[in-house]
Symmetry: C2
Subunit: 333 residues, 2 copies
């Protein structure tokens, strides 16, 4: 039985939408769900729902981290904040994974502080599926790791490979390094120094990848720093939105009678490219499974986040990453 801790206090629509998504997602996934939050608020929210058939429990987390607090200080001071309690449940083996839609900085600090890093891993990194255009392509890092060194990108590559194998289900995924040209000598100093590390690793490294290779699906895992990752994800979402807007008005001008059908198709494409489809992603490199989602998540994103957590646990992403990374560590000694 998979057990998942849900931080019901984190996110712009907490606790109402988080609890609602928890109830729906708990029933849909069949996992044992641990609602973590302030008991009074939680009870009031749970009372709004039909809980029959839901396998759940409540764990108290009376502290709250405010948006304007320093995450580093707040997490250390507020041991009973919901994100800290949820991570502790994973640490203690009570939960197999924790899911939060709260402040990602606080989640990062709580993850590092409570769960710790895998031996030899320097920084946690966040993977993401590349929109609906290439949902089986994983980009990493989108967690804001800027100013990285070559060894960090190597670590991100191992994390991304473990995720692609365990969650996406791709055997021996093709790893690409996002750069400015396909030749090994192309790119920044960072990329030129990273290239041989990847080439000499046990990974299925397919070389440098360019921007247009991402939507074309030329690699299963695309490795880059968090600045590039943030730009890639937000830019892609922005292009999709702007282009759909442009196309809709052009189509409606040419085919005014088909307006309803056109809008239905465009709505489908937009939905396929929306972050709520995956809901939350595992912060990799930690010695435990902590998934973080979008602050704007509503109930459907919470349901997707719980499904993702279930897949990450069932697919053994953490043991896979541990094993692969341990072999790297051993071969370096």
């Amino acid at each position: 039985m998979i057990s998942i801790a849900l931080d019901t206090m984190g996110g712009d629509y907490a606790p109402a939408e988080i609890v609602k998504g928890g109830v729906l997602g708990g029933r849909e996934t069949g996992v044992h769900l641990i609602f973590v939050g302030m008991p009074s608020l939680l009870q009031a929210e749970l009372a709004q729902h039909d809980l029959s058939g839901l396998d759940y429990e409540i764990v108290d987390a009376p502290d709250v981290i405010q948006m304007d607090e320093s995450p580093a200080k707040a997490v250390r001071r507020k041991r009973n904040a919901s994100i800290v309690v949820a991570a502790q449940l994973v640490k203690d083996g009570v939960a197999d994974a924790a899911v939060t839609m709260g402040h990602s900085g606080a989640a990062l600090v709580a993850g590092r502080w409570v769960l710790g890093m895998l031996p030899g891993m320097d920084r946690p990194a966040l993977p993401a599926p590349y929109l609906g255009l290439q949902p089986e392509v994983t980009i990493i890092d989108v967690g804001g790791n800027t100013d990285v060194r070559p060894r960090h990108l190597l670590q991100f590559a191992f994390m991304g490979a473990a995720y692609a194998e365990a969650v996406v289900g791709i055997t021996n995924p093709r790893i690409g390094l996002l750069s400015i040209g396909s030749e090994p000598g192309k790119g920044s100093m960072l990329l030129k120094e990273t290239f041989p590390l990847l080439a000499e690793s046990s990974l299925n490294f397919v070389g440098n990848i360019e921007g247009d290779d991402i939507p074309a699906g030329k690699a299963d895992v695309i490795v880059h720093d968090g600045l590039l990752g943030n730009v890639v994800l937000k830019l892609s979402e922005g292009v999709v939105e702007a282009l759909l807007h442009d196309i809709t008005s052009r189509l409606e001008e040419h085919l005014p009678a088909e307006s309803d059908a056109i809008q239905a198709v465009i709505a489908d494409v937009l939905a396929a490219n929306h972050y709520s489809r995956y809901g939350a992603m595992p912060l990799l490199g930690l010695n435990g499974l902590l998934l973080i989602g979008h602050g704007k998540s509503k109930a459907p994103a919470v349901v997707s986040g719980l499904k993702m957590a279930q897949r990450a646990v069932a697919g053994n992403v953490l043991p896979r990453l541990k094993d692969a990374w341990q072999r790297v560590q051993e071969s370096n000694h």
Copy 2:
């Protein structure tokens, strides 16, 4: 009378498509066109066209730089290569601008070597219009300047501002710094150090810009290094292509009878986002106007490139940049 030197030997489809585009573009723009290239090849190509009404001359450039040569060495050894001769015509005041579709590395070296940099400018940078989605938004650098320092990004911002004013026609353009979040403290060390330089400059700096702000048009000039620029441009093109493919098949499935109309609309959108619309862009920071275009350029892109050269000359992009940059230099002393 504006005079433009056209390198007819550079590009994948040289000389045939370059000469063809030159003849069409020369007539369309009314500029004085200087065909630069190997006389025998050029004469043979020109003989294919009706040259009536075309204001042109031919300048010999008997040397050829091969694709596998080191640009730095080849440019210095082959003073009669077409790109070197074209740049020299600008240097000598015979041409107001030079246009090449040849090897961009060779053009860069020829530009720096023959024309030199503006005083206090460290590296040439290449701007680009942001596709058809936001054709009035300029992104800079897309010329491969990786591993830049804050002062380089400041220089790129002045270049982009001069281009936006002179060529796009925007007074006091809004300058944005591409980063990971809108707050001043967000981004890499490079970006954090660049932010105050831009904020304290005479530019109309609107702060950090995120990926989705580019297609949304939240700034007129977006500043970033050449790695980000390359990824932004290629990724955007790739997303447009992948999305149009996806939408076309979905629409045709729902509206099979409207297939022709749908394909016509999609073809329009694709054309609006194709690089041949602008053809070539001025390499800024040089003490002279040298425009470089896509190696895959055919005649229509050459026509667009000549129009762009004409606009850059007529809009005084170089004097504007010189003036603005000189004031920066003076205020620092």
